[in-house]
Symmetry: C2
Subunit: 212 residues, 2 copies
């Protein structure tokens, strides 16, 4: 399979537009922890392997995770300059080593101006991201902090495939849009309840049943 076929609209393009995509396709690899984009406008990114975390920054510099993009997913806001009406910035960081395929923003914009398929793709993807952010908003507004932290620990366990989580309190705080102190306090409380065991650099989930 050609790399370009990873973009689902590719098959619906005319041959001249397919060629435009193929000739401008780029590939990148980012190491774990690398900043993949900083609110800039590189283009449409397809995640060939690995996982991106997309987040926003508050005025005070706090991060909050909006959604993650795993293998097979597409990052839309890295092409924000090709989208009319977007006036916010999101950022993405590589949570694992990631391999990406890029359609540059100017090419994507050209396609958007003439292809119903590309526009339909943009619409559906934006709607999906919008839905995810609405979920975050609901969670932030309504869920209690202990439930949010417990859910995050279980999610991390599922991703990592182990109960020994190599994640810092700082990182958890960034996911939840709060400060490290709040996370440390709640983790201490969880420890006192026998739900987790804390040691330097590791959080072990001791009682997943009760965390649920």
């Amino acid at each position: 399979m050609q790399k370009a076929e990873n973009f689902s609209f590719y098959k619906d393009l005319k041959e001249e537009d397919r060629r435009l995509v193929r000739e401008n396709l780029r590939e990148y690899t980012f190491h774990r922890g690398a900043q993949v984009y900083n609110g800039d406008c590189t283009g449409l990114l397809y995640v060939e392997s690995g996982r991106l975390r997309v987040y926003t920054l508050s005025e005070t510099g706090r991060e909050i995770t909006l959604y993650r993009i795993a293998e097979g997913g597409v990052c839309l806001f890295s092409a924000s300059c090709a989208l009319r009406g977007i006036d916010f910035h999101v950022f993405a960081v590589a949570e694992t080593e990631v391999r990406l395929i890029l359609i540059p923003a100017e090419i994507y914009k050209k396609l958007s101006e003439k292809s119903v398929a590309v526009n339909g793709f943009t619409n559906a993807l934006m709607a999906q991201r919008f839905s995810e952010v609405m979920w975050v908003l609901d969670e932030v507004l309504n869920k209690k902090f202990d439930a949010r932290l417990a859910a995050l620990l279980l999610e991390e366990e599922a991703y990592a495939g182990t109960a020994d989580l190599k994640i810092t309190h700082e990182q958890l705080a960034a996911h939840l849009g709060t400060v490290r102190e709040a996370v440390s306090r709640m983790l201490k409380y969880f420890e006192s309840e026998g739900l987790v065991e804390l040691s330097r650099g590791t959080i072990r989930i001791a009682n997943a049943e009760e965390l649920r």
Copy 2:
């Protein structure tokens, strides 16, 4: 001007699609306070006069205002079934008497399937709404409650064109995604600081400078 021309993509449609729009256009009037839509899928709404408030409901039944749509604006999520990928519900209520022009959802969907202009319009509008919701998320996460309430009072003053606001504590709470008690407590505090004067059914802004 024809009513259909209020939709900016109309001029870019082929004549057969223009006719489709014209023949299916409907008009509605809602009184102040009426529920305009309840997460259902009526179609694309153009606000000819008046103002809509679009909000979401939390699990616990609390409202939070996402954005408002004034004269000349278009309500997109009232056509959510015509959009792929949307899995949340928003609701709209008439804040004043409103007159609306509707393109039914099935007609809008048909247009979306063949017109680049309609898709571009959908993209731009969704991006704008997304930006507004990101702003709400940021505000909820970061701004202190007193600053949020003060900003809302000043906004209401600007809309109403008077310092005497006929708005209940309940309504203010719904705007801010909180409970009436929290609003009443903060208003009492504002009153003690000489910023507002409270009387039955009215909140008078006494010192707009200090509220800022």
